[in-house]
């Protein structure tokens, strides 16, 4: 790697101060799984002068339920998500999504915040959180601000972060805590796979009418950023829960996506996958809803 200066931040405000002081040629390192892999083969023009390490900023850790909902610190690793009793109980889809990222080594290093700020279209943590209407909290020199995760993603590898800003936490709003959600990823192999398509489906069940309530379908790797399949969602809202409805939502979601053809797959194949995976993700979420209902 080419030379850079290194500063370790004590906490998030120290990190923001360091970013402001050393910008604009500055990068944040947390788990390092994306940053270092990038820097080793990136052209000199992309190389930062300064790297700020936030891996010791303990205020960015922790998973807890707050008045606002479930709060996940940006420094929480994928392994911590997989092992968290709260998340396992409330959002098994987040556990599944975390499990599909890299392998044990990279899941131990890689953080939720780090995964989201890469903003690659195939970001594995993205779809489930977007389907759950997650909100991100950003700290900057002028204080903190919040915005929906769906808006945090701006384009391929582009986020709404301004210079010297830091993603500090992700919140799943109270009304969606425990919302039945299912995540599916399709990659080119089973271990360490990159997504050809990611799908998360989430909805409440109106048990009186057996209909979809507040359905959300989020798709990854099939558009410049994580998107919601809005026509599929619109169709499902209030619709009776049947396999036909789920299949139809899959077809609609496929139309909502804007996939590209690249060396990993063609656009048409990605569209076909979305249809199948959306249907299956809806089935998975419904299964979970039924299971939860039986338990309660």
């Amino acid at each position: 790697m080419r030379p850079f200066d290194f500063y370790a931040a004590r906490d998030s405000s120290d990190a923001v101060a360091l970013l402001a002081k050393h910008g604009p040629s500055v990068k944040v390192i947390a788990g390092g799984t994306d940053l270092l892999a990038d820097l080793k083969f990136a052209p000199a023009s992309h190389h930062p002068k300064v790297v700020v390490d936030i891996s010791r900023a303990d205020d960015l850790r922790g998973i807890r339920e707050t008045d606002a909902g479930l709060r996940i610190g940006s420094l929480v690793t994928h392994t911590e998500i997989m092992e968290s009793p709260i998340i396992r109980d409330l959002f098994p889809a987040l556990v599944d999504a975390a499990h599909t990222i890299g392998a044990v080594q990279t899941r131990n290093l890689g953080t939720l915040g780090g995964n989201l700020v890469t903003a690659v279209p195939s970001v594995d943590s993205g779809p489930t959180l977007v389907a759950l209407d997650a909100v991100v909290t950003i700290a900057g020199p002028d204080g903190r601000r919040q915005l929906p995760l769906a808006e945090f993603f701006v384009g391929p590898r582009k986020t709404a972060l301004k210079p010297a800003e830091l993603l500090v936490e992700i919140t799943i709003p109270k009304e969606n805590v425990g919302k039945p959600t299912h995540f599916l990823k399709f990659g080119l192999r089973k271990g360490q796979a990159l997504a050809l398509v990611n799908v998360a489906a989430s909805f409440w069940v109106d048990w009186d009418s057996e209909t979809f309530l507040n359905p959300r379908i989020a798709l990854g790797a099939v558009a410049p950023k994580v998107i919601r399949a809005e026509s599929a969602e619109k169709f499902l809202a209030g619709e009776e829960i049947t396999t036909d409805a789920m299949a139809e939502a899959g077809r609609l979601a496929s139309g909502d996506a804007k996939p590209i053809s690249d060396m990993r797959a063609s656009a048409q194949y990605r569209r076909d996958l979305i249809a199948v995976l959306t249907k299956r993700a809806l089935e998975g979420a419904y299964e979970l809803a039924q299971k939860k209902r039986k338990q309660s």
Binding site: M1, R2, P3, F6, Y7, A8, A9, R10, D14, F41, A44, D53
Partner: protein, 467 residues
């Protein structure tokens, strides 16, 4: 890494003291209680599940691969890659790289005393000097005090190219009107034909004739250990090269030839190689680092990055395979015609061997009295192909065994049964009319079928055929 100065100062004092104290940990843990496993103590030795002495060192992390060797004063070399698939080199300007602090020496293709090598055709340059034949060709090399300085310095080497249209499709390359990749040499640089029996008669006697075409892709060996070599000279003008080569005897001959020095002055040592699969049978950077070492009077090491391992080493030949087979209605193969086109990439390397093996093996382990198998290998401006585990056999096996199943299905014969009707047996004549001995295809089919629990599918129409 404390950020406030006070802690930092304290840490520094502490650290400096510690820097002077060598590690107390044993450099070589010595597992004295470990007994030699029983199998290695038994006689007779053959047939024993003896454990490997090297496995213990691997497991302890004590095996020294080339990249684990750090010699005092050692320099690190990096190769500048062409990045264009076909071009004439107009000029190579290394002046900026040479002036970079930490850079100790630079070499280009013009510095190589005899700039060609290869196991059969000597068509590969050590570093490209006049022409680039594929994007992974090296055009210059740098030795520097750190890997990063060497990597930065090769970026500063300016190469001017006259880009030429690359030939990428092997079928295109096969056509006579296609410009020669290595003009004036022809693109078809290898041809094999096997003729046995009378193929026309065989087809005429057949009840059914099946045709099919198959293609395979280019793949990499992916040894976990990237290619690495380390060169140093002594005051008697003797060169020692530690290398990941799987064939040191011939590697030494290639190094001697390209450098123009007697073999007696070269010592090639291979430690345990971290995976070969055919990909480490040829010299890569050895002559280059030898020259860099000679220029600097220091040991020089060059280890491929993972991307280099893909684009600067050999790969498996992609094949285009056309099959035509004549069979009787009860499933006896009477005649087979095969045409193979091998995409050889930029250089011959082990294409001769691959061509021969692919052609001979393409009939499959079957008794076929009337056979024509013809194979061509052509140049393209792609990554060179070479030796890889199986030398063309996995490709042709995919073709002949897919073909067999399709025929079995069409004939309504169980695939196992169909094979058993046609396999080679003791004393069979091979496609080259060699009398075969210790032939056990039948035994292996039956053993595998038994282990698997293979039963003929009980489709009503298939039953009769199997019985």
């Amino acid at each position: 890494m404390a950020t406030d100065t006070k802690t930092k100062t304290t840490a520094l004092v502490d650290a400096e003291q510690l820097l002077r104290v060598p590690s107390a940990a044993p450099l070589v843990p010595f597992p004295v209680d470990v007994q030699v496993p029983d199998a290695a103590r038994q006689t007779p030795a053959v047939g024993q599940r003896a454990t490997r002495p090297d496995c213990r060192l691997h497991g302890l992390g004590q095996t020294k691969y080339i990249d684990d060797m750090y010699l005092p004063g050692m320099l690190f070399a990096k190769i500048k890659r062409a990045g264009v698939a076909s071009a004439r080199i107009i000029s190579v300007d290394t002046s900026e790289a040479e002036m970079t602090p930490g850079v100790m020496a630079v070499v280009t293709g013009k510095d190589i005393p005899c700039n060609s090598f290869g196991p059969s055709l000597k068509d590969q340059p050590v570093l490209a000097d006049e022409r680039v034949f594929y994007a992974g060709d090296g055009v210059a090399a740098v030795a520097a005090v750190t890997e990063q300085i060497a990597a930065d310095a090769i970026e500063k080497i300016k190469v001017e190219y006259e880009e030429l249209t690359p030939v990428l499709d092997p079928l295109e390359s096969l056509k006579l009107e296609t410009p020669g990749v290595h003009a004036p040499s022809a693109n078809i640089y290898g041809h094999k034909i096997i003729k046995k029996g009378d193929i026309e008669k065989g087809f005429a006697a057949s009840d059914h004739i099946f045709e099919a075409s198959f293609r395979t892709q280019m793949v990499e060996h992916v040894p976990l250990e990237p290619h690495s070599s380390l060169a140093q000279w002594d005051a008697n003008g003797r060169l020692t090269v530690h290398s990941t080569l799987g064939r040191i005897t011939l590697g030494r001959a290639d190094i001697a030839r390209t450098l123009g020095i007697p073999m007696s002055r070269i010592r090639v040592v291979a430690t345990v190689v971290g995976g070969n699969f055919g990909g480490k049978n040829e010299i890569t950077t050895e002559p280059v680092i030898a020259l860099l070492s000679k220029k600097t009077g220091r040991p020089v090491k060059c280890t491929f990055t993972r991307p280099e391992e893909f684009y600067a080493s050999t790969t498996r030949h992609p094949l285009i395979m056309d099959y035509k087979t004549g069979v009787t209605k009860d499933g006896k193969i009477l005649a087979r015609k095969i045409r193979l086109v091998l995409d050889g990439g930029a250089y011959c390397s082990w294409s001769e061997t691959t061509l021969g093996k692919a052609c001979i093996l393409s009939a499959g382990p079957y008794q076929i009295d009337n056979l024509v198998a013809e194979a061509f290998v052509v140049y393209t401006n792609k990554t060179m192909t070479g030796a890889m585990r199986g030398f063309g056999a996995p490709q042709v096996c995919f073709a002949y065994e897919s073909h067999m199943d399709d025929m079995a299905k069409a004939l309504n014969i169980d695939p196992l049964e169909f094979r058993l009707k046609n396999v080679l047996s003791e004393g069979s004549l091979s496609p080259t009319s060699q009398t075969l001995h210790s032939v056990v295809v039948r035994e292996s089919l039956l053993q595998a079928a038994q282990r698997f629990g293979w039963k003929p599918k009980t489709a009503p129409e298939a039953e009769g055929a199997f019985a």
